[in-house]
C-alpha cells in the first residue's frame, strides 16, 4: 500500500534475508513468511487505525533498511544502579557473550544466544518461537521474521529468584541502520525472575525488539525497561502468556527518544493471574511515544492494572491504545486502566484510545484518562517555600509519575528513573519560546 516508501527496504530485505544461514526448514519458512508479508504489505500509512498516531514515514524512507554493523560499540557509560550481577549485552542486535557476565547465573536459569541455539537445536527453538511469538501481520514483526537471526533464549525453572540486566546497545554512528532481536523468556515451576532491560543508542538507528514469554503457574516475572536519552527509533513488542496465579509486572520509563512504540499483548490464560503495566515518560521536540496494549482476560478471576503517565512538551505526541478483552468465561475479572498526561505546550498532543471488549457479565473494568497542565497553585506553593520555578516543575513531574514508580523496590534505580525524567523536562526558558 505505501508505494515508494519500501523502495529501499524491499531489495535490501530480500538480499539480507537470502544471505542468512538456513539452519532448518522451519526457520527458513518463518523467514520467507515474514519477507513475503512485508514485500506485500510494507509499512502501514496514517490511515491504518493501529498506526494512526505513529507515523512511520521516516522509517519507511529507507535509511534504516541496512543492518547495523557488527562492529558497533556500546554507547553511553553511565551505569544504572541495578541490583543484578548478571549482565547480558547486545550490540546492534547481536548477543555479545564476550561483553556479558553470566558468572552469577544460578543453575536453574539458562541464558543462550538465539543464534547459538539456532546452531545447536534449530528445530526446537523455531517450534518455541512459533508457539510464543506466533506469526502476525505486522510490519516490524515481519521484518523481524525475515531477518530472524539473533536474540536471547532465557529459561528459569523451579525455586529461583534471579535478576538479569539486559543492555541493548545501538550504534548507528558510522552509518544508519537497524537491528532485530527476538527473545524468549520462559518461567516454570514457581520461578521468580526480574529483568532490567536498558536501551542505549547513538546515531540513527532502528531497534526492532520482540519477546515471547511464558510465565508458568505460580511464577512471577518482573520487568523494568528504561529508554535512555538519545535513542532514535525503538519498536518493542511483547507477547506474554500467564498460567494459573502467574504474575507479570512491567514498567517502562523513558525520555529523549525520537520514536518509541511499545506494544504489549498479555494473555491471562490461568485463573488468579495478574498483569501490571506501568509507564512513565517525558517527551520533547517532535518525539513520539506510543503505548499500545492489549490485555486478554481469557479465564475467570484474573486482575490487571495499567497506569501510563506522560509529560509532553514541544511538538511531541503521545498515544495510548489500551484494549481490554474480557472473554465470555472470564467472570470476576478486575481490570483497571488509566492514562494521564500533562501537556507543557500548546502544540504537544495526547491521544488516548481505551478499547473495552467485555463478553462476561460479572466484571469490574475501569478506565480513565486525563489531560492537564502543571498545576499553577502547586508551583506557587513550592516557589513560596524558596524552590525555584525550574525545580518546582521538576518536583511536579516526580509527583505526577510517583504512582508509576512507587512499587519499584530498588530505591537507587527508582531515583535514576525519576531523575532521567526530571532531566528531560524542558526548561522554563524553552517553554517561553
Amino acid at each position: 500500500m505505501s508505494t515508494g516508501t519500501v523502495d529501499h527496504w524491499n531489495p535490501n530485505l530480500e538480499e539480507q534475508c537470502s544471505g542468512l544461514h538456513a539452519a532448518c526448514e522451519s526457520l527458513e519458512a518463518r523467514r520467507k513468511h515474514g519477507l513475503n508479508q512485508f514485500l506485500e504489505a510494507g509499512f502501514p500509512g496514517r490511515k491504518d487505525e493501529e498506526w494512526r498516531y505513529t507515523p512511520l514515514r521516516s522509517v519507511a524512507e529507507g535509511e534504516y533498511s541496512s543492518k547495523l554493523s557488527v562492529e558497533g560499540q556500546l554507547p553511553g557509560d553511565d551505569e544504572l544502579a541495578t541490583s543484578s550481577d548478571i549482565r547480558l549485552v547486545l550490540i546492534n542486535g547481536r548477543f555479545r557473550e564476550d561483553l556479558s557476565d553470566l558468572t552469577a547465573l544460578p543453575d536453574t536459569v539458562k541464558v543462550v544466544g538465539l543464534s547459538r541455539s539456532l546452531e545447536t537445536s534449530a528445530d526446537s527453538v523455531v517450534t518455541d518461537l512459533n508457539r510464543w511469538i506466533p506469526l502476525v501481520d505486522h510490519p516490524f514483526q515481519n521484518i523481524g521474521d525475515a531477518l530472524l537471526e539473533d536474540g536471547l533464549v532465557i529459561t528459569a525453572e523451579g525455586n529461583v529468584d534471579a535478576r538479569i540486566h539486559i543492555v541493548h546497545g545501538q550504534d548507528g554512528s558510522e552509518s544508519a541502520g537497524s537491528s532485530h532481536v527476538s527473545g524468549l523468556i520462559r518461567l516454570s515451576g514457581g520461578a521468580q525472575l526480574e529483568v532490567l532491560e536498558e536501551f542505549r543508542s547513538r546515531g540513527k538507528s532502528l531497534a526492532n525488539i520482540r519477546w515471547g514469554m511464558e510465565i508458568g503457574s505460580g511464577c512471577e516475572f518482573r520487568r523494568q525497561r528504561i529508554v535512555r536519552p538519545g535513542c532514535d527509533v525503538l519498536y518493542h513488542g511483547t507477547r506474554v502468556e500467564l498460567g494459573e496465579k502467574a504474575v507479570f509486572r512491567d514498567l517502562i520509563a523513558g525520555s529523549g527518544a525520537r520514536l518509541v512504540r511499545n506494544e504489549i499483548h498479555a494473555i491471562l490464560a490461568g485463573p488468579g493471574g495478574h498483569v501490571d503495566l506501568l509507564g512513565g515518560y517525558v517527551s520533547n521536540g517532535d518525539e513520539i511515544v506510543d503505548h499500545h496494549t492489549t490485555i486478554e482476560h481469557a479465564v475467570a478471576d484474573c486482575t490487571s492494572r495499567e497506569i501510563y503517565r506522560g509529560v509532553l512538551g514541544g511538538d511531541s505526541r503521545g498515544a495510548f491504545t489500551g484494549m481490554i478483552h474480557v472473554h465470555q468465561d472470564a467472570q470476576r475479572t478486575d481490570a483497571e486502566q488509566s492514562n494521564d498526561a500533562i501537556l507543557l505546550s500548546r502544540s504537544a498532543e495526547m491521544n488516548t484510545r481505551p478499547r473495552l471488549e467485555i463478553y462476561a457479565d460479572d466484571v469490574k473494568c475501569t478506565h480513565g484518562a486525563t489531560v492537564g497542565e502543571l498545576d499553577d497553585d502547586s508551583i506557587f506553593y513550592l516557589r513560596s517555600r524558596g524552590v525555584s520555578l525550574e525545580e518546582a516543575r521538576r518536583m511536579l513531574v516526580r509527583a505526577f509519575t510517583a504512582e508509576v514508580f512507587e512499587e519499584l523496590e530498588n530505591e537507587a534505580l527508582k531515583e535514576q528513573f525519576i531523575e532521567q525524567l526530571q532531566e528531560a523536562m524542558p526548561t522554563a526558558v524553552d517553554l517561553r519560546q
Binding site: 513550592l382 513560596s384 517555600r385 524558596g386 524552590v387 520555578l389 511536579l396 516526580r398 509527583a399 509519575t401
Partner: protein, 267 residues
Amino acid sequence: MSAHENEEKMILDVKDLHASVEGSPILNGMNLSLKPGEVHAIMGPNGSGKSTFANVLAGREDYTVEKGSVRYRDLDLLDLDPEERACEGIFLAFQYPVSIPGISNAYFLRSALNAVRRYKEEPEVDAVDFLQLVRSKMELVGMDEKLLQRSVNDGFSGGEKKRNEILQMAVLDPKLAILDETDSGLDIDALRIVAEGVNALRGGDRSFIVVTHYQRLLDYIVPDHVHVLSEGQIVRSGDKTLAHELEREGYSWLESGHAAEKSQEAS
C-alpha cells in the same frame, strides 16, 4: 532625618498598594509599616482583600500590582520572584494550603530548606541532619511524625494542614511570617499549640502579620497593632483592644463609614 531613621528600621513598608485580578481592583491603596519584631494583626470582613494582600506579598502572579511600592528590608519586594522572596525570609502560611500527591512532606521540606540554604550560600543539610531538625520542630507544633512520610497535605485534616504550615515556617526560619487564617479549622487545643509554636518563634527581629477573624487567636499571639481591612484599604488601626471591640461589635460600622466616605468622594 528622624523620618529617615524610622524608615531604616522598617522590615516592611507598604505604600499606596493597588492590586487587581483580571481587571477588577482588590487592593485600593494599602499602607502598612512593620518594625522588626512586631506582630501586626489584620482583620476585616470576608472578601476585603486580606488573602490578596498576603499573596501579593508572597509574589503570586495572578495579581497585578497597579500602583504603589513595597519595601522589604532594603529590597524592592515587587521586583523579586516568589522564590527569591522566600529565600530572603518571607513566609506565607496559606489560608488554603494545596496538596501535592506524590511528593512526600519530608522531601518537600528538605528541598525547600536546601533551596533557601543554597541561596544563602550555606551548605545543604543531609538526610540525617534534616530529620533531626524537623523532628524538633514537629514537637514544637505537636505534629505526628507519620505526616512526614505522607504526601504534602494529601488527605490531611484541616488542622493538620495548618500545623504543617507552621512546621514549614519553623523549619525555614523566616524574617517575616504572614499567617493567613492559620487559626481557622483548628480545635481549641490545636489553636493553643500552634499559637505557642508561633510565640516560641517570636522575639528577636522576626515579624509577623497575622490575618484572622477571631480575637481568640490574638489572646494567645498578642499583637502590637491591629488593622481593619475593608475593600482593599486599611480603614482603622489600633492596639490589641481593637480586636476585642471588633469581636463585640462586628463590622456593621464599616457600612456606614464607607458609605460616608463614598458619598464624600462623590461630592
